[in-house]
Amino acid sequence: MKKTQIKDSLRNVKKNILSWISIIFIAGMAAAAYLGICYAAYSMRKAGNDFYEENRFRDLEITSTLLMTDADIEALKSDSGVRDAEGIFFTNARLRNGRQFQTVNIVSDTERVNTAKIVEGSLPKAPDECAVEQSIAEKMGYKVGDPLKACSDKGGIPEFMKGTDYKITGIILHPDHLSTPEIAPGNRYIIVTPEAFDLEKLDGCYMRAEILLKETEGLNRFSPEYLKKVDSATERLEKLAEERAAARTKEFKEISQARIDENQKKLDDAKKEIDEAKEKLDEGSAKLRISRIILDESRKTIEENEEKLSDTKALLDAVKLFLDDAEKGNLKAMEDLPPEQIEEIKAKAAEGKNEYEKNLAQYNAGVEKLKKAKEDLETGEKKYSEGLAEYEASEKKYNDGLAEYEANLAKLEDAKKELSGIRDCRWFIFNIESNAGYTHLSLSSDSISSLSITFSLFFVVIAALVIYTTIGRIVNEQRKLVGATKALGFFNREVLGKYLVFGISATVVGALIGIIVGFFIIQGVILTSYKNMYVIGQMPAKILIGTSLAGIGLAVALAVAAVTLSCMSLMRSTAMDLMREKQPKASSKEGGKSGSLYTRLIFRNMRSDLGRVIVTTVSIAGCCALLVTGFTMRNNAPGIIDKQYGEIIKYDEKLTFNPDASDTAAQDIEKILSGSGAKYIAVSSGYRAFRAGNDMEYTDLICGDISKLEEFYSFREWKTDNTIPADGDGVFIQCRTAESSGKNKGDEIIIYDETMDPFDVKVAGVFNNYCARNMVMSESAFEKFFHEAPKKNTYFILLNGADRAGLLEKLESVEGFEKLEATADEKERLSFVTGVFTKVALLMLAVAGLMAYFILLNITKMYVNSKQRELTVMRINGFTVKEAKNYLNRETIVTTVIGNILGVAVGALMGYIVMRFIEMPHLQFLRTPFLLGWLIGVALTVSFTAAINAFGLRKIKDLKLTDA
C-alpha cells in the first residue's frame, strides 16, 4: 500500500471508530473465551503433568492375583519398553489421634517410580519411621516428629506389618493422589520403609508393581499421544503378563505342593508317633487296669483276712477268758461241779491254754502277714497311682498331639483343596486412567476444553457475522466512494486493502486483547476455581504460543474472509454502477399489499435489507442462546445437588464398619443406633472393578433390601422414574454407565469380586444417579451371581432427631467401626465441584452479556446509520423523535422476537449439549430444560436490546436535519 492509501485506511478506521472498537471487543471476547479456556485447560494439564513428572508418576501399575515376585519385577525391568519398575508393599491401617480417626494405606517407599514429594521433613529411613500425606497430616493434626500409631481394625498390628508405632519424619504429597480427598475420596498414604513390613509373611512378594515406560518419556501424561503409547506398551506387556502369570502359577503351585508334601510328611510322621503313643497308652492302660484289679483283689483279701483275724482274735480272746476262768475255777457252771471235775476242767483248761497259745501264735503270725500284705498293697497302690498319672499325662499329650495333627491335617486338606482349586495367576495392568486424581484432572480439563469448543465456536460464528455485517455496512456507506476510487484507476485489491486494514487491524487488536484477557481473567478464574480440588494448589497460568498465534491467524483469516465477502459485490460492480445511487431491488410483487402501512413498510424494509436483518436476528439469537446456555449451566450443574441429596440420597449419615473386626460389631452398632432413635438400614457397600465396555472401571456396589432402601436411598428407574423393582434379577447400573457402555436392561457386564475374579452379571435396569459411580443389587441377585451372601458393612442412617456428636462418640467405641460420613459433607463436596461449573457459567454469562451489549450496540448503530436519511426525512416532515424511534423499534421488536425464539431454541439445545459435554463418568448434570433460564435469557436479551436500542436510538434526537 502506498503512503496515502495507508493514511486513507487509517482515517477510515478513525471515522468508523465505534464499529472498529466493536469488532475489537467482539473479536477480543471470542478470543478471550476460546483462548482463556484453552490456556486454563492446558495449564491444568501442564501443572498436573509437572507434578507427575517431578514425582515420576507411574505409567502403569500392575497387580497380580498371586502377588509379584522379584523375578516378575526383573522381567518387567528387562522389557525393552520399560524404563524402570519397582515393587511395593501396602496394607490398610487405622489411625487415631485423639478423637480423629483416619483409615489409611501404609505403603512402602519407592526410590525411582511413584516417589513421594517431600513437603516438609524427610522420608523414613528406619522401620519405625514414616511420612504422611499432607491431607492426613492436616486432618489429624500431625507434625514432623510426632508419634503415629497405625493399627488394624481390631487395634492390633496391621496385616503384614511388624509393628504399630512410628515416628513421623516427613509430610509428603504422593502422585497417586493429585486430587484432594474431597474430590477423590479413598485412603491416603503413610509411607514407610519396606523393612517395616513383615516380609517373611509376604514371602518377599510385592503387592503391586509401578512401571515407568521408556516411550512415554517427555510426553505430557494428559496428551492423546501419551495414552496411545501407554496403550501400545500395555498391549506388549499383556504378553509378558501372560508369561509371567503362567510362570507364577506354576511356581506358586510347585511351592504350594512342596509345602503340602512337606507338611504331609510331617503329618504322617506325627501320625506314626501318635499311633505309637496310643499303643503305649493302651498298654499302660491295660497294665493299670490289671494292677488295679490285683490291688483291689489284694485289698479285698486283706480286708477278709483282717476280718477273719479279727474274728479269730475275738474268739481267742473269748477262749482265753473262758480258759482263764476255767483255770481259776471261776466258772459258774463249776460251782456245782465236783472239784475233780473242776480240777479236770482246770487241767483241760490248762491244756486248752496251750492250744490257745498256739492259736494265738498262729493268729499273730496271721496278723503279721496281714500287715505285710497291707504294706504291699500300699506300695502297689502308690505304684498304680504313679502309673495312672503317667498314663494320664501321656494320654493328654497324645490327645493334644492328635488334635494338632487333626488340625494340621485339616489345614493340609484345605491347602490341598486350595491348591487344587487355585486359579491361574492373572496380572492386571492399570494405566494412568485408573488413577482417580489423574482422571479427575483429565476430565476436568476435557470439560473445560469442551466448553471452549462449544462456546467459542459460537463466539467465533457471531464475531464473524458481526465483522461481516459491520464491514458490509461501512463498505455500503462508502459505495460511491469506492466507485469513484475504482473510476480513478484503483485495482480491486487496492480498494479492498483499505477495508482489510480495517477488519484485520480490529480483529488482530481484538485477538491480542483477547489473549491478555483470556490469560489473566478467564484462565485466572478457572484455575482459581480448580485450586482447591488438587493437592498442588494454585496451578500456574500458562500461555499457548501456538494456539495464540493460531487464534490471531484465525482472526486474520476471519477478517479477510468477512471483508472479502462483504466487498464481493463491490468488487464485481463497475465504477459507474457504484457511483450511481443504489436502488432497492424492484419488484411489483414485493411486500404484498396487506396489513397496515407500517407493517408493510417493516416487512419490506426487512426484505430489502435481509442480510442485516439476518445478522441482527442471528446476533440477538446468539446473545439469547448464550444467556440461555449460561443460565442452563448455572442451574443444571448445581441443580443436581438437591436432586442427589434430596430426592435420591435421603439418609443423613453413612456408617461404615469392618464386619470382620468383631463378631458383634453389627449388633453393637445397631444397639447404639436403635438407642439413639435413629433409623437405619444395613447394606453391603464396596468398590468393585467392572467392565461394561472396553475399559475396566470401578463402582460402589450397594447391596441390600431394595424394598426397604427407598426411605434411605431412592433408586429410581431412568426415564420412567419408577422405583426399581426389589427383586431385580441382576445389577442396576446408573444412567452414565449405561450411556457410556451402551449396556441396558438384559445385557451382561463383568463385575470382579474382591480377588478380581470376574462374574458375568445381568443388567437388571438403569437408575438415576447424578454423582459418584454406583450400582445396586438385591441380596438375592448378589447371591445368585456371586455365589455368596453379601457382607453388610454399611449403614444408611436417618438421624431422626438423634444427636450426631453423641452418636459418633458411642460408635467410636465399637470395635470395627470405621467412619460416619455426613451426607451434608458429601453435599458440600458436590457443591464445591459444581461450583466450578457455576463460576465458568457466570464467566460465560458475563462474556455473553458484554458481547451481546457490544454486538447489539454495533448493530443498532449500523441500523440507525442505514436509516439515517429516512429518519432525517421523517423528522423534517414532522415526525417526532418518539415516532421516528418507533419506526425503527418496530423492526427491532420483530427481530428481537424472532431472535429470542431462535435463541431459546439454540440455547436450549446448546445448553443440553454443553452439559452433556462437561459431564464426567461420575457426574451427570440435570438434562431437563431450565424454563426459568429461558425466561431470564429472553428477559435479559430483551432488556439488553431495549437498553441498547434506547442508547443507540438517542442519535435520532441529534440527527442533523440539515444533512438530508
Binding site: 432497492p584 408493510r600 419490506r604 424494509n605 414532522g878 415526525f879
Partner: protein, 406 residues
C-alpha cells in the same frame, strides 16, 4: 483621483447595464448593486411611486434589511420627501438629522448612520427615488457620492421612461415568517464559523421566493432555520407572529409537522414504500391532510401510485416528493435545489408543478437554487452573500416555468 476614477467606471457600468440588458428589472437591480458596491455601502433601494395610490414601495433593495413589505405615502419620510420634491437629500449623520425618522431600514434590522436619497426624474415626473444607506467603512457620504447617485438615477429614470416599467405594486402582503438579525454559528474545534451574520427577511404568505447564492453563502442554513430544522444562534424568528427564536425540539417538530413541506434535491423517498404509500406516510401525520391520491393527481403521478421509488425516474420521484410535501397542506414548502439532479425537461415539469402548487394551494414556496433562471419565476428573489442578505428583488412580472430556458 482614485475615487473619481472608480465612480467614472461605475457610471459606465451602470450605463452599460441599463442600456444593454433586455430585462429592465434586472437592469435596475444590477445598477443598484453597482452603485452600492461603488459607494462601499451597506444597503440600497430603488423606490417606485404607484400613481394610483400615491404610495412608494421598494422594488429592489440590497442589504441586510428586508424592506420588501414597506410602503410609504408620498411626501412622508426622506424617501417620500425626495419623491415629492424631486430634490436629493443628503443625510450625513442620521442621528443628528431631524428629517430622518428611521421607519424604513432601522425598523427592519439596519441602523442608519448616513444616507443619500436621490429622485428618479423622468422627463415629466418624479417616479420614485434611489436610496443608498451607510458606508461600510463607517464613514459618511459626500457630495461626490451623491453626484454618482444622481447620475445613476437619471440614467435609470431615462431608461425606465424609454423601455417602460409598469409598476404594479401589490397590496401589502401578509407575513408568514419574519427573520430579524438572525445569526448562526458553528463551532469547529477552537474556531467559530459564522454562517449567518445577521439575516433580516420577511416571508409572505402565498409567495414563491427563490434564494440564490454561491456555495457556502448561508442560503441553505437560512432555509434550514426557516424550516425549523436548525436552531439559530441569535436573532429573532417569528412564524405567524409566534416566536420561534429559541424553541424546544418538540415545538420545532410540531412546527415542521404543521407548517412545513419539504422537497429535497435527492427526493429522499422511502425506498420501501410505493408512491402512494410515501404520500400516505406523511399524510397520516396531520389530521387535516389532503387525500394522498389527490396529491399525486396534482403532480400527475396517479398512474405511478403503486410504483416504488426504484421504479421511477428522477423527475417522477421528485414529483412524488412534491406530492408528499403538499399532502399535509403546509403553509410553507421548502425546496432545496429540487431540480439540481434533473435534466432540463424534467426540471421544467417539476417547476411547473411547484408553480401550480403556489397558484392553486395558496402555499408559500421557498426554493434554494443555484439556477438564476429559476429565479425568474419567483415573486421575490433573495440573494445571499457571505451570511447576509445581499439583495431582495421583487419580480414585477414573474415568468412561467415553461418560459424558462437554460
Amino acid at each position: 483621483m482614485a475615487e473619481s476614477k472608480r465612480y467614472t467606471k461605475a457610471s459606465w457600468d451602470i450605463m452599460a447595464q441599463l442600456l444593454k440588458v433586455d430585462n429592465l428589472e434586472e437592469a435596475l437591480s444590477g445598477s443598484l448593486e453597482i452603485i452600492v458596491k461603488a459607494l462601499n455601502s451597506e444597503a440600497g433601494a430603488i423606490w417606485m411611486l404607484d400613481p394610483k395610490t400615491d404610495r412608494l414601495s421598494p422594488v429592489f433593495h440590497i442589504g441586510p434589511a428586508d424592506i420588501s413589505n414597506i410602503s410609504i405615502e408620498n411626501g412622508f419620510g426622506i424617501e417620500g420627501l425626495v419623491t415629492k420634491t424631486g430634490k436629493s437629500v443628503f443625510v450625513s449623520d442620521a442621528a443628528a438629522d431631524d428629517r430622518f425618522d428611521g421607519t424604513v431600514f432601522d425598523d427592519n434590522g439596519l441602523s442608519t448612520r448616513t444616507m443619500i436619497c436621490v429622485p428618479l426624474n423622468n422627463m415629466h415626473d418624479v417616479i420614485g427615488c434611489v436610496q443608498i444607506v451607510n458606508k461600510l467603512d463607517g464613514g459618511f457620504f459626500d457630495a461626490e457620492d451623491m453626484q454618482l447617485c444622481e447620475r445613476m438615477a437619471s440614467l435609470a429614470a431615462i431608461t425606465i421612461d424609454e423601455k417602460g416599467l409598469i409598476v404594479d405594486l401589490e397590496e401589502k402582503k401578509e407575513v408568514l415568517a419574519t427573520l430579524r438579525n438572525i445569526t448562526k454559528e458553528y463551532q469547529t474545534g477552537d474556531t467559530t464559523l459564522k454562517v449567518l451574520k445577521g439575516v433580516n427577511l420577511d416571508i409572505y404568505k402565498n409567495e414563491f421566493i427563490v434564494v440564490l447564492g454561491e456555495s457556502g453563502c448561508g442560503k441553505s442554513t437560512m432555509m434550514n432555520i426557516v424550516g425549523g430544522m436548525d436552531f439559530l444562534t441569535s436573532g429573532e424568528l417569528t412564524i405567524e407572529g409566534k416566536d420561534f427564536s429559541h424553541p424546544s425540539d418538540a415545538d420545532l417538530t410540531k412546527y415542521r409537522r404543521e407548517y412545513i413541506g419539504y422537497i429535497f434535491q435527492a427526493y429522499n423517498l422511502m425506498p420501501n414504500l410505493t408512491a402512494l404509500e410515501n404520500v400516505e406516510f406523511i399524510a397520516e401525520l396531520v389530521p387535516d391532510h389532503m387525500d394522498s391520491r389527490e396529491a399525486l393527481a396534482k403532480v400527475n403521478m396517479s398512474q405511478r401510485e403503486n410504483n416504488y421509488p426504484g421504479q421511477m425516474s428522477g423527475g417522477q420521484q421528485q414529483r412524488v416528493s412534491i406530492a408528499r410535501a403538499i399532502v399535509k397542506k403546509p403553509k410553507l414548502i421548502l425546496a432545496d435545489e429540487p431540480t439540481a439532479a434533473l435534466d432540463y425537461t424534467t426540471s421544467i415539469e417539476v417547476l411547473h408543478t411547484i408553480e401550480e402548487i403556489v397558484k392553486t394551494q395558496g402555499t408559500t414556496v421557498m426554493m434554494v437554487t443555484h439556477n438564476v433562471e429559476i429565479a425568474k419565476m419567483a415573486d421575490r428573489v433573495v440573494k445571499v452573500r457571505n451570511g447576509k442578505i445581499a439583495s431582495i428583488k421583487k419580480n414585477m412580472h414573474p415568468l412561467h416555468a415553461e418560459d424558462l430556458v437554460w
